[in-house]
C-alpha cells in the first residue's frame, strides 16, 4: 500500500538539480511516461495538480461531467490505443464515483493508472471533509494500489504504477496522493526501469509445453479455437491469424475477443456463449481439441461447466497462471504472453510438417457448415416496425465495418456483437466482465479522443444511455463528434427478455415509462438529434449522422419492444441447449 521504494533507494539529491512540488512531479511523470490525455474532474485535494496541468501543453485534460465517465473514457482510450489510460479525480466522492469505472477496467484487464487526491497525511483517519479510505475501497478492484505518504516516493511510485498496469496481465493501478504531498518539494528523478522482487510476470511460453500443445492441436480430428480478450490486449492478432489460417481450423471469439480474427473470414464461426451462434457453440461442444487463447472460461461462455466441451482435450494459453484450470481442468497449460507464445507456436508449426488429417478436417467442416446453414441469427424483417438487428446491420454497412463501436450493456450489446462484423482488433469496446451500464457514451469519448478522425458509434439502449447521459456536455466542450445509436425499445430489454423466458412474462419494473425526448435532449446539449420511427427511416438517419462528420449526433431508433436476442443458452444449461428463433 505504501510506496515501493525505501529511503536507501531514493536518488541522492545532489545528483539532481531540479526541485519540483509533488503536483509538478505528477505532471512531469505523466509527460515522461508519454501520456497525451488525462480524463478527470477537479476537486479540493487535487487542485495543486490541476494548477500544474494548466501551466503546460504536453498533457491535455478532458473534463468529464462525472468521475465514473473519466475512468470509462480513459479505459476506452487504452482499449483503442493499447497505451495506459490515465484518469485523475479528487478525494472522497471523486474516488467513490470512480470505483465503478475501475472495477470495469479490472474485470476486462485494461491497463490504466488512476490518480486520486486524498486529504492531507495528518488528517488521514480523522473523518476529514471528503475523506474516504480509497486504497481500502479499491483494493479488490485494482491490480495494485498505493498511498504515497512521502513526496520523495512519488516519482518512483508513479513509475511502478505504469509498469504494473501495462505488464503481465494488465489492469488498473491506483495512486492515492494526499493534498500536502502535492505541495511538498523534492528533486525530480524518474526511474528508467523498475524491478520488483515480488513481481516477475512470465513472458515466454515453456518450449516443452508449446511443443506439447502443437502436438495435440495438429493431431486433432475436430480442432476448435476459442479466443478471448487476451489476444486483443496482448496484440497477438497477427500471430493468431497466421496460426489459424495455416491450420485451417474453425475459430470462435468471446465477447471480449471480437475483431482478433476477421469476422468476414469463413473460418470464423461468430461469438460463442450465452448469445453465441449455433455453429460456434455446437463446434465447441463437439470438438476433440479445444484451444483456448487469452480466454478465461467465464460462466457466460461455458454454460453448464459439467457439460462444457465434453469430448475435448484442452490447451489453454494465458499470461495469468490463476486463469488456468480455474473453472475448467486443462490438459496442456501454457503460461506466457499471448503474442510471444503464438510466435513460438507458429515457429513449431513452420519447423514441422505435422498437420491435421485432411479427411477428418473435411468431415469436420462439412458438419460445421451444416450447423451454419441453420442461420441462427436470422430475424424477420418488418416493414412497419424497426428491428434492432436491422439497425446494427445498416450501421455496419454504412460505416463499411470501419467504425469503432462502443456499447452499453444489455440486448443492444449482444446485437452489436452479433451483427457488427469486426475485422480488426481494438474496434469493439464494451464492458464484458463487469457488465457496466453507462459505459458506452464515455467510452465513445475516450475512443474519439484516441482516434479523432475515425467514426465512433456508441450502440446503446434507452436504459443504459441514461446512466451517463450528462457526458453529452463533455462531447460539446471537447468537440467529440461521437454518434450515438440508441436502440430505443422503452424497456430494459435484456431484463424484459429474461422475465419473458424465465418469469412467466411478468415484466417487473422493466418498462421504462417517461423517457425523455432524446432528439430534444441532444439539441438541448447543443448537438443534433435524429429519430427513426419506421424501417424506411433507418438508412437516411444513419447517412445523415455520418454526413455530419464534425457533429455529435444522437440517433433515436424506435425499435420493436418485444424483440429478443437469439440464440440464447439459459443460465445453467449446456452450450448445446440453445433457445433458437
Amino acid at each position: 500500500m505504501t510506496s515501493p521504494t525505501t529511503t536507501q533507494d531514493r536518488p541522492s539529491p545532489e545528483l539532481e538539480t531540479e526541485e519540483l512540488t509533488g503536483a509538478g512531479i505528477v505532471v512531469r511523470a505523466l509527460r515522461d511516461e508519454g501520456v497525451e490525455y488525462v480524463f478527470g474532474y477537479p476537486g479540493g485535494a487535487v487542485l495543486y495538480i490541476y494548477d500544474e496541468l494548466a501551466q503546460q501543453d504536453a498533457v491535455r485534460h478532458i473534463l468529464v461531467r462525472h468521475e465514473q465517465a473519466a475512468v470509462h473514457a480513459a479505459d476506452a482510450y487504452s482499449r483503442v490505443t493499447g497505451k495506459v489510460g490515465v484518469a485523475l479525480v479528487t478525494s472522497g466522492p471523486g474516488a467513490t464515483n470512480a470505483v465503478t469505472g475501475i472495477a470495469t477496467a479490472y474485470m476486462d484487464s485494461v491497463p490504466m493508472v488512476v490518480i486520486t487526491g486524498q486529504v492531507p497525511v495528518a488528517l488521514i483517519g480523522n473523518d476529514a471533509f471528503q475523506e474516504v479510505d480509497t486504497v481500502g475501497i479499491t483494493r479488490p478492484c485494482t491490480k495494485h494500489n498505493f498511498l504515497v505518504k512521502d513526496v520523495r516516493d512519488l516519482a518512483s511510485t508513479l513509475k511502478t504504477a505504469f509498469y504494473l498496469a501495462a505488464t503481465g496481465r494488465p489492469g488498473p493501478v491506483l495512486v492515492d496522493i494526499p493534498r500536502d504531498i502535492t505541495s511538498h518539494k523534492t528533486h525530480y528523478h524518474y526511474p528508467e526501469k523498475i524491478s520488483l522482487r515480488s513481481y516477475k510476470p512470465t513472458v515466454k511460453g515453456h518450449p516443452g509445453q508449446v511443443r506439447k500443445a502443437m502436438q495435440l492441436i495438429t493431431s486433432a480430428q475436430r480442432p476448435m479455437f476459442y479466443t478471448g480478450g487476451g489476444i486483443v490486449l496482448g496484440n497477438a492478432s497477427a500471430e493468431l491469424r497466421k496460426l489459424v489460417r495455416t491450420l485451417g481450423a474453425p475459430i470462435t471469439h468471446t465477447l471480449m475477443g471480437l475483431g482478433a480474427y476477421p469476422a468476414s473470414d469463413r473460418q470464423f464461426l461468430g461469438m460463442l456463449g450465452m448469445h453465441g451462434t449455433y455453429e460456434a457453440n455446437m463446434a465447441v461442444q463437439h470438438c476433440d481439441v479445444l484451444v483456448a487463447l487469452g480466454a478465461r472460461f467465464d460462466d457466460r461462455v461455458t454454460g453448464n461447466l459439467a457439460k462444457f466441451a465434453p469430448h475435448a482435450r484442452i490447451v489453454h494459453v494465458d499470461v495469468d497462471p490463476s486463469s488456468i484450470s480455474k473453472n475448467v481442468r486443462v490438459d496442456v497449460p501454457v503460461v506466457g504472453d499471448l503474442q510471444q507464445v503464438l510466435l513460438e507456436m507458429n515457429q513449431v508449426l513452420a519447423e514441422s510438417d505435422q498437420r491435421n488429417d485432411p479427411q477428418a478436417m473435411q468431415a469436420w467442416w462439412a458438419q460445421i457448415e451444416e450447423w451454419r446453414q441453420r442461420g441462427c441469427l436470422h430475424y424477420k424483417q418488418d416493414d412497419r416496425i424497426i428491428k434492432p438487428q436491422f439497425v446494427v446491420q445498416k450501421l455496419y454497412e454504412l460505416t463499411g465495418g470501419n467504425a469503432i463501436v462502443t456499447s452499453d450493456v444489455g440486448q443492444h450489446q449482444m446485437w452489436a456483437a452479433q451483427f457488427y462484423g469486426f475485422d480488426r482488433p481494438r474496434r469493439w469496446v464494451n464492458s464484458g466482465g463487469l457488465g457496466t451500464m453507462g459505459f458506452g457514451l464515455p467510452a465513445a469519448m475516450g475512443a474519439q479522443v484516441a482516434e479523432p478522425d475515425s467514426t465512433v458509434v456508441c450502440i446503446t439502449g434507452d436504459g443504459s444511455i441514461q446512466m451517463n447521459i450528462q457526458e453529452l456536455s463533455t462531447c460539446l466542450q471537447h468537440h467529440l463528434p461521437v454518434k450515438v445509436a440508441c436502440l430505443n425499445n422503452h424497456y430494459l430489454g435484456m431484463v424484459r427478455q429474461w422475465q419473458e423466458f424465465f418469469y412467466e412474462n411478468r415484466y417487473a419494473m422493466s418498462y421504462v415509462d417517461a423517457l425523455p425526448d432524446f432528439v430534444k435532449l441532444a439539441e438541448a446539449y447543443g448537438h443534433i438529434g435524429l429519430r427513426a420511427d419506421t424501417p424506411a427511416d433507418v438508412e437516411p438517419v444513419i447517412r445523415e449522422a455520418l454526413r455530419l462528420k464534425d457533429r455529435m449526433v444522437f440517433m433515436d431508433f424506435q425499435v420493436d419492444p418485444q424483440e429478443n436476442v437469439y440464440p440464447m443458452v439459459p443460465a445453467g444449461a449446456a452450450l448445446s441447449e440453445m433457445i433458437l428463433v
Binding site: 500500500m1 483494493r139 495494485h144 515480488s198 490463476s322 488456468i324 484450470s325 480455474k326
Partner: protein, 161 residues
C-alpha cells in the same frame, strides 16, 4: 483437507489486508493466520492454516502468487514440515485442583508463567491437536481465558521456502 501455507511478502502497510481480503473475497476459508517480520526486516512471513479441495488449493496458491507484494508462496503440507502453536491459558487453581493443574502442565511440557492464590497462567507450545488435548484434559469450568497464536510452520531439511 487442512493445508498450511507459508507466504513471504513485502513488509508494508496494507500487505496483510491484501492477503486477508483475497481470502474473504474469493470465499476461501481461514482457520488461522499469523504474520511477523523475518530476519530480513523488509520481508514478513505469514502462515495461513486453511481447508479446501485440491482444486481450491491450486487457486489459493495461484491467487496469492498474483498479489504484487507476495514474494513466495508454498504449501508446507506438500512435504515434511513442523508446525507449532503457542497457547497462553489462565485457569482457576484452588484446593486440590492446584496440584492437579501443575501436574497436567508438566505432562504437556507447559510452564507456569504467572501465579495468584486462585489461578495459574501457563504457556504451552505444540501442534494444534496437543493444545486442544490440554484444554480437554481440564475441567471446562476451570478455564478462565485462552489465547492462541495460530499455527507457525517451517519445512524440514536444510532449505528455505
Amino acid at each position: 483437507m487442512r493445508h498450511i501455507i507459508s507466504i513471504l511478502l513485502e513488509n508494508e502497510a496494507g500487505a496483510l489486508s491484501r492477503v486477508a481480503g483475497l481470502f474473504s473475497a474469493r470465499g476461501y476459508n481461514i482457520e488461522a493466520m499469523t504474520v511477523a517480520p523475518t530476519h530480513d526486516p523488509s520481508i514478513s512471513r505469514m502462515t495461513v492454516a486453511t481447508r479446501g479441495s485440491e482444486e481450491i488449493m491450486e487457486q489459493v496458491l495461484k491467487q496469492l502468487n498474483k498479489l504484487v507484494e507476495v514474494i513466495r508462496v508454498q504449501d508446507l503440507t506438500e512435504g515434511p514440515h513442523i508446525e507449532r502453536e503457542l497457547m497462553l491459558i489462565k485457569v482457576h487453581a484452588v484446593g486440590p485442583d492446584r496440584e492437579e493443574v501443575k501436574r497436567l502442565s508438566d505432562i504437556f511440557r507447559g510452564r507456569i508463567i504467572d501465579v495468584t492464590d486462585r489461578s495459574y497462567t501457563m504457556e504451552l507450545t505444540g501442534t494444534g491437536e496437543k493444545l486442544d488435548a490440554f484444554i480437554h484434559a481440564l475441567d471446562p469450568g476451570m478455564v478462565i481465558e485462552v489465547v492462541r497464536s495460530g499455527a507457525s510452520a517451517i519445512s524440514r531439511g536444510a532449505k528455505a521456502i
